[in-house]
Amino acid sequence: MDTTQLLKGVLELAVLAILDERDSYGYAIVVALREAGHETVGEASVYGTLRRLAADGAVSTYQVQSAHGPNRKYHTLTEDGIERLRAGTKTWTSFSQTMSYLLREDTP
């Protein structure tokens, strides 16, 4: 099954989970996702998701001076973001349990 399509549905949750661990900037989140196994995730998907989360008020941003070039825009979870992560985690856990159950039952 194409994991790219699956990731599309949960990319927002994955990004929120990474930001829950530590504040980060866009490219570092892309790298973290790829290192976690989502090698096909695209920059546009991650940056677009961050943009939407910022527009929704789930993350806020701040600039950090970088020794390697221009300032980096770091993202941090807001209260709304933490709440969204909590709700998303709950939904995902329930969903994945259901799927696991179904797949165990159906797989010969």
């Binding site: 990319l11 900037y25 866009g26 490219y27 695209g42 920059e43 546009a44 998907s45 991650v46 940056y47 677009g48 998701t49 943009r51 939407r52 527009a55 970088s66 020794a67 390697h68 070039g69 221009p70 980096r72 825009k73």
Partner: protein, 317 residues
């Protein structure tokens, strides 16, 4: 290591952004600009981590923009409408023309300018070298006196200027004041070149007379009037680069000088009348003959060191 975006990378970035904009033009202006701003930031952020042109870093603009729009919650690019009203059609035509200029013609010119930069560096060096010889071209004295009349030295100076210009072009300075200085040098080089071209076109600098050069002086005919008559005659001492004769070339100026040189009035008059009756190139050659006569006598009879300006002081005979 600190990475800074160079002129070439900036052009690539501008080009990429302009191609992205093509896929955003259906969005409200504020949204479009905001997305473009974000794309700019994304590319700059990734450029600090990886090397490569924007197309290599994040893929082609159409795919990138489409995905960015989808994930950031903006509607996908609008499909083209099959039927359009007349006003919409005109608006679209104007918009398309504008878009083509902004996204195709302008980037094309920017890329062309980037490709031609080495040629500009060389031309700037030569132009700047002309500055050192500009005084010589205009009045017989170079800003560096030794250059006046010495082609080899001028070529050496030009070579140094070209080398410096190319080096500055390959490694642009980072300090703002130095960048400003480079721009100023470019403007000076263009100005000097235009001035030089203008002088040559006006006939202000007709070149050195070989016979005069071999005798220790060089003759520069003055600017020509509409009848190709020299308005000015200048003589330069080749060895020192000094301007030793600078006189008007009107009929009366010539008569005065011929008289000062001890030529009989009748001879001078006949000479001038014969020239007055000539036209075009023949007239020019006639005036050159007058000039040659003057300079020959001038060189024969005068000491360079004692005569500075025949037009202002009478030479001793």
């Amino acid at each position: 290591m600190t990475r800074t975006i160079g002129p070439s990378a900036q052009l690539d970035l501008d080009d990429y952004l302009s191609r992205c904009e093509e896929h955003l033009d259906d969005l409200p202006t504020g949204t479009r600009l905001s997305l473009l701003h974000d794309i700019n930031e994304i590319i700059q952020e990734i450029s600090t981590e990886l090397d490569g042109r924007p197309d290599d870093l994040i893929g082609d603009p159409a795919t990138f923009v489409c995905e960015l729009r989808r994930t950031s919650g903006h509607p996908p690019p609008a499909e083209p409408q099959p039927a359009r009203s007349r006003s919409r059609s005109i608006r679209d035509t104007v918009g398309n023309a504008r878009s083509r200029i902004e996204h195709r013609a302008l980037p094309w010119f920017l890329r062309l300018a980037r490709d031609l930069r080495p040629a500009w560096w060389v031309a700037r060096g030569i132009g700047f070298a002309i500055v050192f010889d500009l005084g010589h071209i205009n009045n017989g004295n170079g800003f560096i006196p030794a250059i006046a009349g010495s082609s080899a030295l001028w070529v050496a100076v030009a070579g140094l200027c070209v080398f410096g210009s190319v080096e500055v072009g390959r490694k642009p300075p980072t300090q703002p004041w130095m960048r400003l200085a480079v721009v100023a040098m470019g403007i000076v080089a263009i100005g000097a070149t235009v001035n030089d071209i203008d002088n040559v076109r006006d006939g202000r600098f007709e070149g050195w007379d070989a016979w005069a050069a071999s005798s220790g002086a060089a003759v520069i005919s003055g600017p020509l009037d509409e009848l190709t008559t020299p308005r000015h005659i200048q003589v330069v001492d080749v060895t020192s680069g000094d301007l030793v004769l600078d006189m008007g070339a009107s009929y009366y100026d010539i008569v005065d000088v011929l008289e000062d040189l001890g030529l009989e009035d009748a001879t001078a008059h006949d000479f001038l009348v014969s020239v007055e009756g000539m036209d075009g190139p023949q007239r020019l050659r006639g005036w050159e003959a007058v000039r040659t006569t003057i300079v020959e006598h001038f060189i024969d009879r005068m000491e360079f060191a004692t005569i500075n300006d025949m037009g202002r002081s009478s030479p001793e005979s």
